[in-house]
Assembly symmetry: C2
């Protein structure tokens, strides 16, 4: 198929490579030409604007950080809306506010264009190994057309509901995941304050009712004090801004998430945003008694 | 071996039955004679006080709810300390404050008696199926003697550290587990407020980075709105009292656990203490917009 891809960073680049390797024609665009170079070398074609790229593609993927960037790419002066044919689909795999995603979908629908919100969990490693979990909002018909491409990128594809529902699921995922990281950090901090070896506590917890992927992955990083980034914690901070804004907009109190958001604020205040979220252990330790 | 068991409730009774079935001589004591009846029918012998029971046993297990009850059983007027021989071991499998456990251990050690704190995770189902996770604090020598008995009760036995360390690990386990339940409740509540099907969100999360035993077990109960007790939530409320007291004593701030503790306070305030902790969903919903 004729595809487009915008946003060739730590996540987008390996995803675009999977699509290209599967034999699809791939159009790319980037603000920085050097971000496109490896894809172009591998056979992708670079275009001068999102609109020009969109003219070449039946399905265009975006994978960027901020909601305003997705809106600009889709609806701006040189945006996808000015190049996509009726019947083409914009698949946004970024993590942005459900409201922003729904707004873009409505504008595109006005010109007969489809849209799916399809944020992912799994991080750069999941992108490289094509093992992402993809949470999809939008119509079943659009998803049917895009599904074979999603299958090149991830191992689990869940159709959560209508437009924006993928973003809602992603917000829920981040709430649960980062709350688990923050709670694990507090637990290991309490263990240390009690004079008990955090590695032994981690081993005890991994076997019981508290067992989780977070405890396996982030708990182990905390025990080894390995705070190098898997996913940069500043992205979790961004995600919590989105979900706490949603809570405010809806009148839906999220007391645990609010507290986790404050821990992420502290993490950013300490200048650790480019480290892994396991560094929440250091946030907890910063004000906790040492033995 | 000659064993004793005190505390024949939802947890203790199946555990005592496993010990008896393995061929050990079992002495039992209970405040309420009827709690002992099924064990006595199966071959255990009832005694008139903890002290009298202790005279018959090399190793005595206790499995009760409150720390003050463990202290009274161990050190009170008719307590174990007045019956155990030097070299005998008190194995407390209750979930109590590390400090209380250490105090009992010191008093027993003064008479040459051993003590292990060995709280468990897994609930009544784990007790029945002998699949508990057992978190042990105390000396390696005492654990070596008790280990064959623990192997009749659980499938994972972790020696966390010295006396009290098992209780510290259990406190950490409860922090991480109940925080995950509370965060899952908030997430499903946000999904509903967004007009998205919580069952689909649960399915999406179960496949990704937020995956956990809590999400599998408690998330599924929330989706089915099945709030009948696995473990009664009032016990989690009790555990949070312990761990927040520890945090206060040590000067160790636990902001996430503190907020979870408030949610458990709300749960108790609503009169739901005998339900499963999955009812934290209803606590979250109580103040959240409905669609």
């Amino acid at each position: 198929m004729k595809l487009g891809f915008i946003g060739l960073g730590a996540m987008g680049r390996p995803m675009a490579e999977h699509l290209l390797r599967a034999g699809h024609e791939l159009a790319v665009w980037g603000r920085r030409p050097q971000s496109m170079a490896p894809l172009v070398e591998a056979g992708a074609v670079a275009y001068a604007s999102p609109a020009e790229l969109a003219q070449q593609a039946e399905i265009v993927f975006t994978m960027v950080t901020a909601g305003e960037d997705v809106a600009r790419l889709a609806l701006g002066q040189d945006g996808l809306i000015h190049g996509l044919a009726a019947g083409a689909i914009h698949v946004d795999m970024s993590t942005i506010a459900p409201e922003t995603s729904r707004d873009i979908a409505v504008r595109l629908a006005g010109k007969g264009m489809g849209m799916l919100d399809a944020p992912v969990s799994g991080g750069p490693v999941g992108a490289q190994n094509a093992t992402l979990s993809i949470m999809v909002g939008g119509s079943a018909a659009d998803l049917d057309r895009v599904r074979p491409l999603f299958e090149l990128l991830g191992k689990t594809i869940v159709h959560v509901g209508g437009q924006g529902a993928g973003q809602v699921a992603k917000a829920c995922n981040q709430m649960v995941m980062v709350a688990a990281i923050a709670a694990s950090a507090e637990a290991l901090c309490l263990a240390a304050a009690e004079g008990v070896d955090p590695a032994r506590v981690h081993a005890a917890l991994a076997a019981g009712s508290a067992a989780s992927r977070v405890l396996d992955v982030f708990g182990a990083r905390m025990v080894k004090r390995d705070f190098a980034a898997g996913v940069e914690a500043r992205l979790h901070h961004k995600d919590f801004g989105i979900l706490l804004d949603e809570a405010h907009r809806l009148g839906c109190p999220l007391p645990i998430a609010a507290q986790v958001g404050q821990q992420l604020n502290a993490l950013m205040g300490m200048g650790w945003g480019r480290m892994d979220a396991a560094v929440l252990l250091r946030v907890a330790e910063a004000s906790c008694r040492r033995n």
